[in-house]
């Protein structure tokens, strides 16, 4: 077994770079949106064969066991080559895996982890409900304990990649009498093929069906599908650290969008337009400084420090810089933007898709409002 962490940084970087350059499909470079599973699958299988599906998992569970420092190099090289940001959708490797590794039973680890790595099981996340969005802890999906089973009833919504998935991990209310709304919640694993599960795709504003609504009608699952203790699901779901959390603040997508802007400007000769250049430069500097903020948090990770409430600064900045860039991209494309509504596979500069896709970044991983609340209350200690 290769000990990646023992390698010199430069050698490791070159090894990663070589692999990516040799295996990543050219036509999928620098996408601003996340490709569907079927499109990205050949690359994922390449990663799986190489044993690189889960760079951050410990070696004993089939991961690469990378230190934060090596992990950041790994991400850095992906960004450099324009590898599609696959992690958010792959709830299995990024989210569920680490939670199982900390909280799962030996059986759960043995049975589930290998199938995540090979994409035999594709997991999605079932947290949000129609009446539990920003206020996640008010979720009402019911998990009634009957003998050795839970009986699930309720609805999950805004589940990413639900149509591509085979399984879902979710939070459900196992004790309706609990005093605080964060209590009485259990963390459960469900096969989407189970009787009583209905998956309905939700078309989104950008025309793709990235989200789902999943209905559970008396779905019965064995109690062994629970991760962590009974009624302690909230804690399990909050246990993600470091890499998994910093990932959503990565400036990678903003960089990809900025490359589009650059290409558009070149195509239209806008670098001769002083008014354009002023605004372009402002965004270039916003991006440069966003990267500096990212490096700060990445360095903290490398030093083994805990990422705290002020990670919201990175997430907000990243999301809003992203939006500013794609809004300017759309504005700059002018009437050209009216003529390209489909993906950019023909190499033309598409402004509409990035603009629409990025509408979600200030909603998905906590709304901007929630992040500002966190900064005000937990970082600046302003009163309630």
């Amino acid at each position: 077994m290769q000990d990646w962490n023992a390698m010199h940084d430069d050698d490791f970087r070159m090894e990663v770079r070589r692999f990516i350059e040799q295996n990543y499909p050219e036509h999928l470079r620098f996408l601003t949106n996340r490709p569907p599973f079927q499109v990205i699958k050949p690359w994922l299988m390449k990663l799986a064969e190489k044993g690189w599906s889960a760079p951050h998992w410990p070696v004993e569970y089939g991961g690469m066991g990378l230190s934060p420092r090596k992990l950041l190099i790994y991400m850095d090289e992906q960004g450099r080559w324009g590898v599609a940001r696959q992690f958010l959708g792959e709830a299995g490797t990024v989210q569920l895996g680490p939670m199982l590794i900390s909280h799962g039973t030996p059986e759960q680890k043995k049975n589930l982890l290998p199938k995540i790595l090979t994409y035999e099981n594709i997991w999605c996340q079932g947290y949000s409900e129609p009446n539990a969005g920003s206020d996640l802890a008010s979720l009402s999906m019911e998990a009634r304990l009957e003998d050795d089973s839970f009986v699930l009833n309720g609805r999950k919504i805004w589940t990413s990649s639900g149509l591509d998935s085979t399984h879902i991990y979710l939070l459900a209310r196992s004790d309706k009498q609990a005093r605080k709304k964060q209590q009485g919640i259990s963390f459960l694993l469900v096969d989407l093929a189970a009787p009583g599960v209905t998956v309905r795709g939700i078309k989104n504003i950008s025309g793709t069906t990235e989200y789902c609504e999943i209905t559970f009608d008396n779905v019965r699952i064995p109690i062994s599908n629970m991760v962590g203790e009974l009624h302690q699901g909230w804690t399990v779901s909050r246990s993600l650290m470091g890499f998994e959390r910093i990932n959503t603040g990565s400036p990678r997508r903003a960089e990809f969008a900025f490359k589009r802007l650059e290409a558009l400007a070149r195509e239209r000769g806008l670098f001769k337009d002083a008014g354009f250049v002023d605004r372009y430069t402002e965004l270039a500097l916003d991006l440069a400084d966003l990267k500096a903020v990212f490096v700060h948090f990445a360095d903290m990770l490398c030093r083994g420090e805990t990422l705290d409430a002020d990670l919201s600064v990175l997430q907000l900045l990243s999301a809003e810089t992203n939006q500013r860039i794609t809004e300017f991209l759309l504005e700059t494309s002018g009437e050209l933007g009216l003529t390209v509504t489909e993906s950019d596979s023909d190499g033309r500069v598409d402004a509409l898709q990035p603009f629409l896709v990025m509408r979600a970044v200030t909603i998905g991983a906590g709304t901007s409002e929630i992040h500002r609340d966190i900064i005000a209350k937990r970082v600046l200690k302003l009163p309630s």
């Binding site: 206020d135 504003i205 009437e335 009216l338 509408r359 200030t362």
Partner: protein, 389 residues
């Protein structure tokens, strides 16, 4: 410019009452919830609008609002038409009223071919004809007068060459007003659909309505189809363009207004953390900011159309007013619809939520005929003496 009207009597009050009547009737027709459902269903289809509704609109007088009575119109002005367009914008009606009645219709009306006017305009007013203006070639051109297409004398009349793009309303058009260079300068020709043959290609705009590209090579029309010759054509195009800008601004204003209503209603009713999200001050202040943008559009639009009701407005003044209001309403509508999506949370990102349709229509109309950046610069050239000089 004085901020106060000079005159003692009050035709403004009279106009205001007429507009209120028009607005009520237009809203009543367009506000029927069936229209929004219809607009949703028609996305991605061809021609992308409903011929029956087009005739109903004509029957209500909307396609002939700005046409003189001699051509079957009602001879009203920009203010009345803007009121109608605002109502259309509110409900996202897909029928190409601005493109056909204002832009193409205006190009015909302001031309100098009386015979053609007598033939085409009454048909437009009655709903029997849907004309479309084929002007754009380079998607980056920032003026309607940038034309490379050519018109040359041929045995049977005039032969056109070149290509036109992004013809809004073109998928259901009965004929096209085509701009082309000829000896002596720019001219406009009427090209009936029958002369077009297989030269039309369609694609979807961001709002799901179709636009057409038109290959001109090989099209021939009689010389009598010349709507306007050099000199007249430029003036006709410029005026039709300015009026279409104002009507597009009115549509944008209408759709922002409705978006704001939908969103404040959502803020009042959506509950998170045990209370309506509209009780959170951060969202309240964002909503207030949107409302301010809305009011800027409302009063600027009112000022612009009132000024244009006066006879004999200078061409540069008209252009500056048109660009000013297009820039304002484009910016405001994008900001309002973007924020509306954000305020709706994940729901706002779903296609089934109406605010997404409003955002996509805002994106489309904001860019069509030039975006805010283009029109701020045009305004500067036309209105700010320091810059024009």
């Amino acid at each position: 410019m004085n901020t106060i009207n000079e005159s003692q009597s009050d035709p403004a009050e009279e106009l205001k009452q007429r507009l209120a009547l028009l607005r009520d009737s237009a809203r009543q027709y367009a506000g029927n919830a069936a229209h929004l459902k219809r607009a949703r269903a028609l996305r991605g289809t061809r021609p992308g609008h409903d011929a029956v509704v087009w005739r109903e609109m004509a029957a209500l007088g909307w396609t002939g609002t700005m046409l003189p009575e001699q051509y079957g119109g009602t001879g009203l002005g920009c203010a009345e038409m803007a009121t109608i367009c605002e109502a259309l914008g509110r409900s996202l009606l897909p029928e190409p009223v601005t493109a056909a009645a204002v832009l193409a219709g205006g190009a015909i009306l302001y031309g100098d071919n009386e015979a053609l006017k007598a033939k085409l305009l009454p048909a437009l007013a009655s709903g029997d004809l849907l004309p479309s203006l084929a002007w754009r070639e380079d998607t980056h051109a920032t003026t309607i007068l940038a034309v490379a297409a050519r018109a040359e004398a041929s045995a049977s009349g005039v032969r056109l060459s070149g290509a036109k793009r992004l013809i809004v309303g073109g998928a259901g058009a009965d004929g096209f007003v085509v701009s082309a260079q000829q000896h002596g300068g720019l001219a406009l020709y009427w090209v009936p659909l029958a002369a077009v043959g297989p030269r039309l290609v369609f694609h979807d705009l961001p709002d799901g309505r179709p636009a057409a590209d038109l290959e001109l090579d090989g099209i021939e029309v009689p010389a009598a189809n010349r709507i306007a010759g050099p000199g007249v054509a430029e003036l006709a195009l410029a005026r039709a363009y300015d009026e279409a800008l104002i009507m597009t601004a009115a549509e944008l204003h209408g759709l922002s207004t409705r978006t704001l209503e939908i969103t404040t209603e959502y803020l009042r009713t959506r509950v998170q953390f045990g209370k309506p999200i509209g009780s959170f001050q951060a969202l309240q202040h964002q909503a207030a900011n949107l409302y301010i943008q809305h009011r800027l559009c409302q009063h600027a639009l009112q000022e612009v159309v009132t000024l244009l009701q006066q006879p004999g407005v200078d061409e540069n003044v008209r252009g500056a007013l048109a660009s000013r209001i297009k820039a304002r309403c484009a910016d405001a509508s994008l900001r309002i619809t973007r924020t509306a999506v954000q305020m709706h949370g994940a729901m706002g990102f779903a296609d089934e939520c109406d605010v997404g349709m409003y955002l996509r229509r805002a994106v489309t109309l904001a860019a069509w005929l030039g975006g805010a950046d283009v029109h701020r610069r045009r305004y500067a050239r036309l209105a700010l003496t320091e810059i024009a000089a």
